[in-house]
């Protein structure tokens, strides 16, 4: 799983680099626009440690924001599955609000909360929250009649059992959605750092952009790709572990 993701990333990354070099040599662009391989290598050596810490900083905020959005989406999804007016209201609100680009709200958050951790965390959570919410509402609102029927006719059904049944029956879907939103969490954190934050790899990319230093940006992208792949692999592994434990596949 890990090597597959890393291979995929390397292939895409080095194809991108090769395309840049192709453009550079075909159009005869200067090193100022697209640096040569030697310059990229030297820049990599000089900023690798600092950027690695920055990426880890970003990753930790992404993980926190991701967890926060999973908890929030679960909570709202549980309320949104209700057939009462509050459930309908939450479902309608979720479908409408998710259509709005959350990144556009980011400047307001920075103005109100400043450029520290809270703003990065909030924007990260918001960016991966809505896709999660829509999936969770869909999953938790869909009755699993062939299992729930018994509990309903024997008057044993309660909201916790209902949520447990629906979540268990859709555990593969939930795992896929959570893994998918892991990428969004990284994207959200980097975007927030890029807009205004004072830390993280997004902030480093912004600084490099001001200096028009493409080599630094390429090194940052490399580290982001490696870290995101590792995070997604961890999520997939965790998802598979949970599925196996819940479905009792270890004993079969």
């Amino acid at each position: 799983m890990l090597h597959r993701r890393i291979y995929q990333f390397f292939i895409i990354y080095f194809l991108g680099i090769a395309t840049l070099f192709l453009v550079k040599y075909v159009l005869n662009l200067s090193d100022y626009v697209i640096p040569g391989p030697a310059e990229i290598w030297q820049t990599g050596q000089s900023v690798f440690t600092r950027y690695s810490f920055n990426v880890l900083n970003t990753l930790s905020v992404a993980i926190l924001g991701h967890l926060l959005s999973i908890c929030l989406a679960t909570l709202v999804g549980i309320i949104g599955r209700l057939t009462l007016w509050i459930g309908s209201f939450i479902r309608a609100a979720a479908y409408n609000i998710q259509a709005y680009p959350i990144v556009a709200v980011a400047p307001i958050i920075f103005i109100l909360l400043g450029d520290g951790l809270s703003s990065r965390l909030l924007i990260t959570s918001m960016i991966c929250y809505f896709p999660l919410l829509l999936s969770f509402i869909g999953i938790l609102s869909e009755p699993v009649t062939e299992i729930e029927h018994f509990y309903e006719v024997t008057l044993r059904m309660n909201w916790r059992l209902q949520v447990k049944i629906r979540a268990f029956e859709n555990i593969n879907k939930i795992t896929t959605v959570i893994v998918g939103s892991g990428t969004l969490a990284m994207v959200g954190t980097i975007v927030s750092e890029f807009i205004a934050a004072n830390a993280g790899i997004g902030h480093s990319i912004r600084m490099a952009l001001y200096q028009s230093d493409l080599a630094k940006i390429l090194v940052a992208l490399f580290l982001i790709g490696i870290c995101t792949s590792l995070y997604l692999v961890c999520l997939e592994g965790l998802g598979q572990f949970v599925q196996k434990r819940l479905q009792g596949k270890e004993s079969s």
């Binding site: 299992i147 029927h149 049944i165 268990f168 819940l246 479905q247 009792g248």
Partner: protein, 230 residues
């Protein structure tokens, strides 16, 4: 009278055709009874009317001595997060705990107890599902093709065991098997579709029970009556 349907009329929402028109029939004693008829005639609809799953019909369903009606069907599943044994133990009321082992053995499920539901064959799944319903408190159990995918010998064992363990309860068995219905049921309500009048015919089955011999000729006669009525 235990259960009576009087002048039941019903159309599916959005449909112009009646499913039932002035349907009247009754079940007069506890025991193993059948609801028989061709596909689409309204057997499941009638069963769901009894449990409150289908509303908006005219007429009256009256019961006497029946407080708790359960409806089970053959596509039901047990949750997969625990073994079959754990599930049966956790869903059986205290009054039924001592019957678990008897039913498990009679239903041939002893080897499946440590497995998860999804690991069982279709026949085992249906038997497990029926067993958990039998362990509940009920006065009338409607079994909608609950023994589908179960071999004939095991099916006979199960029905005879049910009749022995629960002689005072009422069962309404929905099945397409003429032999089963004729052999094991006391009353057979044959649903005939709304174009025929009367819409139901009640026949007397052989009500075969453990230790009671049945005469082949009588069984064939009942089967013939069922086929003609349907």
């Amino acid at each position: 009278m235990l259960l009576e349907f009087k002048d039941i009329s019903y159309k599916y929402p959005g449909s112009i055709n009646d499913v039932f028109k002035n349907l009247t029939c009754r079940i007069s004693s506890p025991g193993f009874h059948a609801l028989f008829g061709p596909s689409g005639v309204g057997k499941t609809t009638l069963a769901k009317m009894m449990t409150g799953g289908v509303k908006g019909f005219s007429g009256q369903i009256s019961t006497s001595g029946i407080r708790h009606i359960l409806y089970t069907y053959n596509l039901e599943r047990l949750p997969g997060w625990s073994s079959v044994r754990d599930h049966l133990q956790s869903t059986t009321p205290d009054s039924g705990q001592n019957k678990i082992d008897d039913l498990v053995n009679a239903f041939g499920l002893a080897k499946c107890m440590q497995s998860r539901f999804a690991q069982l064959s279709l026949g085992q799944q249906n038997r497990t599902n029926l067993a958990r319903y039998l362990l509940q408190d009920f006065d009338l159990l409607i079994m909608d093709e609950s023994l589908a995918n179960v071999d004939e010998v095991t099916k006979e064992n199960i029905i005879l065991t049910m009749k022995t363990i629960f002689p005072e309860r009422c069962f309404l068995y929905i099945s397409h098997s003429v032999v089963e219905v004729a052999k094991f049921c006391r009353q057979i309500l044959v649903l005939r579709g709304q174009q025929k009048s009367p819409q139901t015919v009640t026949l007397r089955g052989q009500d075969h029970a453990d230790g009671k011999a049945h005469i082949k000729r009588d069984l064939e006669q009942t089967m013939l009556e069922i086929v003609n009525a349907a």
